[in-house]
Every structure is written in structure tokens, then in C-alpha cells.
């Protein structure tokens, strides 16, 4: 299928995927250097999901994400400096260094985390949507979660509330096939996620999460449905994470051959190849975009390195509203 976008927008999508990829590759390196600590969950391989999806949303929409949310935060408009500084634990970070990799937040872009309880964001998203509905706001709340969350009670309770009250919430499941190390078929009696969500009477759609065009088009359709006041929508993006679950994962649960097979469908090289074939990207342009992404990453690392540590005297700040 031809990429149905003008050159500028197509390159913008590619560039955002590159920014996530280069930022996270650097994060892995910095983790090795112990500049970044705690848990670090990389999104590498899944970039088409966040980029395709978030570019289908409006500035006034709400975003609720998981602990694998660096990409979502970045594409949403949180600066790479603020994300990197957060991972360094600096007060210049987007959560003032109190959250870290798993808890990126940003009021200005309506980015509501950064939730590290699997399924924890879903009831919250229903609540945002309820507030919007009661206040007559035509806003979409997009809630991202993995397929692992669909085993949680929170998924069922939230789907039921959203369907029962016809709330403007877009449930976006990034199905990367593994809940940490547990394959979908080893944890779910019903592996057809759309069937599961559809049992609440919510319209559903599956899309190839490795294909940014498929993601973007599906998300546009889903967002329109929700924005038009037609109630909740469930979108499944079928994707794959190329890296380990976190930096502590020896990956005993999947074959290397399976990973390699999925890598052939990697969203970056497949999309750039398509753009080149369609004359929407030259190798020089690609290299320039990549260099720009790398420069942004390096600048963010310099920013995070140079940022001061918050004084320990501030420890009890922000537990309560002053």
C-alpha cells in the first residue's frame, strides 16, 4: 500500500520514530554506565505504535500510559531534555526526579503518566472521560496499556464502566505478546483480545503495530469515533518488543529466532524503505534526520548531566498540595 501522506508528514513520522529509537539506545548505554538506575523498560521495536497513535490525537486530549512510556511522552511533546533529566533523577526532569523512567508526567501536554501498576491507568482514563462527559468537553482520553493488563480486573471494570456510561475513552492495547516473560497463550484463555474487549459491546479494531500507516489510520478512525460522542473504542496494535522486558531480563522465555523474525518487520527500516521506494525520502535525507535525532539525544544527555541535584532538604516536598 502506498503511504497516503505528503512527504513532510511522512518524514515527521519517521523522524519521531528515530528520536525514540536513538534516545532509548542511549538510555541503554547510560544504564550500563549507571547514570540511569531503577527499572528501565525500552520501547525499541514498538515505536510505530506511539508515533502513529499520538499523531492522530489533538492537543486538548488526555494521555494515560504505562511504565514503557518514554516514546509516548516524547511524541506527545515532552522535551527530550526533561525526559532524560528525569531518568537521571534530576529536578529538571519532567517529574522533578521523583518519578524516574516509569513515571513521566507533564501537565502542559496533558500527559498523565507513567503508571507502573499494570492496568492501573485504565480506571483513571475512564474517570478522565467521565469528567469530560459531565463537563461537555469533546475530548478523547487515550489510554495505552499492554496485553498483560487485560488479565487484570481493572481492565474489565474499566471496560464495563466506559461502555455502560458511554465514556469518550480510547483503549489502546499494545499487544507485544509477552507480559514480562509470560506469553499471551500461557496467561489468557481467550487470546483474541478484540473478542474479549468486544464482549462489553465496545467496537474494536486490530491493526499491524509494526506498520505506522496502519496504526495512524486505525487511530484516526478510533479517535473520531470517540470524539464524535459514540462511546469508547478498543484498538489492538499488534507489535513486538525487540529488547528485553527490563534491563534485568535474560530473555529465557522466547527464541532468538522469533526475535530475529520480528526484527525483519522493524518499523523504522520498513517505513524508510517504503518512503524511499515512493520517492518521499532519499538516503541523504534519512542520514540528516538520523543525525538530527542523535544531536538531540546528545544535547539531552549534556542537559541532564549538567542539571543540579535537588537538595535533600526538599525531600518532603509535593506529598501534599501546599
Amino acid at each position: 500500500m502506498t503511504v497516503p501522506y505528503a512527504k513532510d508528514f511522512a518524514q515527521k513520522l519517521l523522524f519521531d520514530m528515530l528520536r525514540i529509537r536513538r534516545m532509548e539506545e542511549k538510555c541503554a548505554e547510560l544504564y550500563g554506565e549507571q547514570k540511569i538506575r531503577g527499572f528501565l523498560h525500552l520501547y525499541i521495536g514498538e515505536e510505530a505504535c506511539a508515533v502513529g497513535a499520538l499523531h492522530a490525537l489533538a492537543a486538548e486530549d488526555n494521555i494515560v500510559a504505562t511504565y514503557r512510556e518514554h516514546g509516548h511522552a516524547l511524541v506527545r511533546g515532552v522535551s527530550m531534555n526533561a525526559i532524560m533529566a528525569e531518568m537521571f533523577g534530576k529536578s529538571a526532569g519532567c517529574s522533578s526526579g521523583r518519578g524516574g523512567s516509569m513515571h513521566l508526567f507533564d501537565a502542559a501536554t496533558r500527559f498523565f503518566g507513567g503508571n507502573a501498576i499494570v492496568g492501573g491507568g485504565l480506571p483513571l482514563a475512564a474517570g478522565f472521560a467521565l469528567a469530560d462527559k459531565l463537563q461537555g468537553k469533546q475530548r478523547v482520553t487515550a489510554c495505552f496499556f499492554g496485553e498483560g493488563a487485560m488479565a487484570e480486573g481493572a481492565f474489565h471494570e474499566s471496560m464495563n464502566l466506559a461502555a455502560l456510561w458511554q465514556l469518550p475513552v480510547l483503549f489502546c492495547c499494545e499487544n507485544n505478546l509477552y507480559a514480562m516473560g509470560t506469553a499471551l497463550a500461557r496467561s489468557e484463555a481467550q487470546t483474541d483480545l478484540c473478542a474479549k474487549a468486544g464482549s462489553y459491546g465496545v467496537p474494536t479494531l486490530k491493526a499491524d503495530g509494526m506498520d505506522i500507516v496502519a496504526v495512524h489510520e486505525a487511530m484516526k478512525l478510533a479517535a473520531r469515533h470517540v470524539r464524535d460522542g459514540l462511546g469508547p473504542f478498543f484498538l489492538e496494535l499488534q507489535t513486538y518488543r525487540f529488547r528485553a522486558h527490563s534491563m534485568f531480563d535474560p530473555e529465557l522465555y522466547r527464541d532468538k529466532a522469533e526475535v530475529e523474525e520480528w526484527k525483519t518487520r522493524g518499523p523504522l527500516h520498513t517505513f524508510s524503505a517504503r518512503l524511499k521506494a515512493e520517492g518521499k525520502l532519499t538516503e541523504e535525507e534519512f542520514l540528516a534526520l538520523d543525525a538530527q535525532a542523535n544531536a538531540e539525544v546528545q544535547a539531552s544527555v549534556d542537559f541532564a548531566e549538567a542539571a543540579p541535584w535537588e537538595p535533600v532538604e526538599d525531600l518532603l516536598k509535593d506529598v501534599h498540595t501546599p
Partner: protein
């Protein structure tokens, strides 16, 4: 004006709903049924189903939705039928409502009010009778209130809704039928403990459903010329240690009465603070009357035996006084 505790809660909610369109009530059977304890009787007809919102039996879901709605600009009052059921929502309360402000670096406050019934005394056995106020009082990021009087039932909701952070209100199920005069000055803060009876010989420190028992014990002891001071904690987090210390500096002796189980109880926290702040004021070891360490039993005589009761409080006071 004489009124019941239930009516005081009802009036407080009514006032809030009428005054602020952002306020809405959500929970199991708050609408058509009129509230499990009839605290929202007639509200559905008056305010409509959008603002008096019956929920499915999904404590985790609707408490989480309350948090989201609070973040989204509303002022939800979420009613959870009892503290026992609130355990199904504990994840959202502890991991999200209480933590969100801090882990977002102060960007988001959660102006949520959670109301729930607590406590034993109605032969409802081991899944409807527990007092877990201390679990909540352990968590930084939330405030925990225990209105024990008609005035506090009437007065605490307003400041709780005005608070930008999550507030949990515990209503002891035995108090709903309590009836007495609503004082003119029922308006109150949600920061301080209250002196309910002034005395000089010993401080009885308590909260919630144990307050009437402590006051009854104080009456009984007065007949034996023992002059008891009764402190009602009212606010279980943050604790008003100053009021406790002021009382101890006067009486030099204390008994803490708490319907929670003794191990890891709120009483234990109060005693620890007394030791930290008032050790040199003490004339005797501090004692406590808590629930026995058993899931609350059904049989009436067994349930009564499990809970703090007036004779136990009287005995504890006499023991501390060496009488």
C-alpha cells in the same frame, strides 16, 4: 436542632452538591436505593443520575474513575460501602491517589473525597465489621478523617472537598443512628484533635465509634471521683500530636481506645508519639483498649467480647491509676 449523624452527613452532601456543580456522588447504591445507610436518600430525584451515579460492583474501577474525574476538573465524592470492600480499591487509593502528586513532581493534585463506613457492632461478622483506619493513616499523601459527632458529620465534608488532595472519611456504622443537638458552630477544620471532655486525672484518647464509649466510661468514672479528660483524634492523618501532648502535660497518664486490632494499631502510633514527646511528663505506663486479635465473630456475645467496651475502658483507667 436535633438530628441524626446520618442526617448530618446527608445535609453536608446536599449542601456541597447544591453549591458546586463540580461535585458529584458516585458509588454502589447511592442513587435508586438512596445509599446503603440512606445518606443520599432523595438525591437522585433532586440532582439527577449524572451527579448521583450508581456504579456497578467495581470498587477498583469506580474509585480509580473518581481519581481520574478529580484530575479532570471535578470534585467527586466516592462512597465505598464499607472499609472492608475498600480493600478491592486499595491499589488505586495507595498507588495512584496518594502517590500521584509526589511522583509527578507536584504537577497533579487529586481532589477526591472517599467516604466509607467502618466498624463492628451489628453482628455482620468477619467481612463487614473491621476497622482498618490505621491502614489508611499509614499512607503519606492522603488525609484521614473520623467524624465521631453530629457536628463533625455535618462539618467535615466541606473542608474535605475544599482540600486539593485526597481525603478519606470513615463513618462508623454504629454512629449513623446517633441523635443529638447540632450545635450552631458545627463548622470545623480537618487538622486538629478535639477536647470532648476536660479532666485532670487521666487522658482517654480515642476516635470514631469508640468516642461514645470513652465518654460513657468517663461518666461512670466521674461517679467514683475520677476526673477523666477525653480527646477525640478526629483527624487520623496527620495526627494532631500537639493536642495529645497538651493533655498529657496536664494529666500525666493516658489510655488509648481504638477499635482496630492491637498489633500495628493506630493506638500503637499514638502511644509511640506520647513516648517521643511526653516521656518525662508521664506518671504511669500508657495503656490501650483495642479489639481482640480475632476476625470479628457473628455471635452477639462474642462480638461484644471482641470489641472495646465501657467496662474494659473503665478497668484500664483504674489499672493505670492504680485503683
Amino acid at each position: 436542632m436535633k438530628m441524626t449523624y446520618r442526617e448530618a452527613i446527608r445535609q453536608a452532601m446536599h449542601e456541597a452538591l447544591a453549591a458546586d456543580p463540580r461535585v458529584f456522588l458516585m458509588g454502589e447504591d447511592v442513587g435508586k436505593y438512596g445509599g446503603t445507610y440512606a445518606c443520599s436518600k432523595g438525591f437522585l430525584e433532586e440532582f439527577g443520575p449524572e451527579r448521583i451515579r450508581d456504579t456497578p460492583l467495581s470498587e477498583l474501577g469506580f474509585v480509580g474513575a473518581g481519581i481520574g474525574a478529580a484530575l479532570g476538573g471535578l470534585r467527586p465524592i466516592v462512597e465505598v460501602m464499607t472499609v472492608n470492600f475498600s480493600l478491592l480499591a486499595l491499589d488505586q487509593i495507595v498507588n495512584t491517589a496518594a502517590a500521584l502528586r509526589h511522583m509527578s513532581g507536584g504537577q497533579f493534585s487529586v481532589p477526591l473525597v472517599l467516604r466509607m463506613a467502618t466498624g463492628a457492632g451489628r453482628q455482620l461478622a468477619a467481612q463487614h465489621s473491621h476497622s482498618l483506619e490505621n491502614w489508611y493513616a499509614h499512607i503519606p499523601g492522603i488525609k484521614v478523617l473520623a467524624p465521631a459527632t453530629i457536628a463533625d458529620a455535618r462539618g467535615m465534608l466541606g473542608p474535605a472537598l475544599a482540600d486539593p488532595d485526597p481525603v478519606v472519611i470513615f463513618e462508623h456504622a454504629q454512629l449513623y443512628n446517633l441523635e443529638c443537638e447540632l450545635p450552631g458552630d458545627w463548622q470545623c477544620d480537618i487538622a486538629s484533635a478535639a477536647l470532648r471532655r476536660a479532666g485532670t486525672d487521666i487522658s482517654l484518647i480515642t476516635y470514631g465509634g469508640s468516642l461514645p464509649k470513652a465518654l460513657a466510661a468517663a461518666d461512670q468514672l466521674a461517679a467514683e471521683s475520677i476526673n477523666v479528660e477525653v480527646i477525640d483524634l478526629r483527624v487520623l492523618r496527620p495526627l494532631d500530636t500537639a493536642t495529645i501532648a497538651a493533655s498529657l502535660r496536664k494529666t500525666h497518664k493516658a489510655v488509648v481506645v481504638d477499635e482496630g486490632w492491637k498489633s500495628g494499631s493506630l493506638a500503637a502510633e499514638v502511644m509511640a508519639r506520647i513516648l517521643e514527646d511526653c516521656f518525662f511528663d508521664l506518671d504511669a505506663p500508657v495503656a490501650r483498649v483495642c479489639s481482640e486479635e480475632v476476625p470479628i465473630p457473628y455471635a452477639k456475645h462474642m462480638e461484644e467480647a471482641a470489641l472495646p467496651q465501657v467496662p474494659k475502658i473503665v478497668a484500664a483507667v483504674k489499672q493505670v491509676l492504680g485503683k
